[in-house]
Amino acid sequence: MHIYANPTRFLKIARPLTAWLGWSGLALIALGPGWGLLFGPSDYLQGDSVRIMYVHVPAAWLGMAGWTGIAAASLAHLVWRHPLAGIAARAIAVPGALFTAICLVTGSLWGRPTWGTYWEWDGRMTSMLILLFLYIGYIALADADRERGGTGRIAAIFGLVGAINIPVIRFSVNWWNTLHQGQSISFTGGGSSIDSSMLWPLFGSALGFSLLFGAIVLMRMRAMLARQKIEARLRRLGA
């Protein structure tokens, strides 16, 4: 991990990787949700509203994965003082918040025709809404800390503490009697209750949005590093 602590070495890898992740992500998004929307089968119970799954599930996954990334970067920032960890955490925050908001909006749009309501204060939906508030709080705290010339320590502690919400979201459907359905996909031998004709476009969609998420994070990191360099150069010129 410390190999990439040097921003010059990181940028050498990040430049070609940004384009590769961006273009392959866009291609997979055109294939996954595109196929799901136009050619995928409708569900025997949920009808055509099941097509919302191809955008809702990847958004939920990225909202949770984003905060997990913030927590991991915060740990690296606090323990190893990795110079790029704070930048990585701040770069993840905005796309993470966006995908959490998309998850909530698309979930509401899926809920209305299937459950008869846009919103219910159940465990899964409420814990996901809390995640959105955590993201907004993190963005505000990290920006304020940076403007005051802080080290990013407070934001990193907030990033670690907020990670408590991730297992709450994950197990909310088991811990409480919720309106939200339980786990449909299992990687631990439990099998999946989703038919393969829906499962493969869903995997394509999740991978596509994940690659695009990676490209956006790299773009934001590159912008932050360039701005840091400009500020340092202007300070040198002014001195």
């Binding site: 998309i102 899926w110 025709p113 360039a226 150069r233």
Partner: protein, 41 residues
């Protein structure tokens, strides 16, 4: 109930949100890197 307006709204929100952030991030990166290059010269 016709489900299609809900499906189309969900895709519109997702694609416009993701596309908007992608373009904004790309423009911010290009602007910052270009400014850095100009300052180097």
């Amino acid at each position: 109930m016709n489900h299609w307006p809900f499906v189309i709204a969900a895709y519109a929100v997702t694609l416009s949100g993701t596309g908007g952030l992608l373009l904004w991030s790309w423009a911010a990166m290009r602007r910052a890197e270009r400014k850095g290059e100009e300052l180097k010269r």
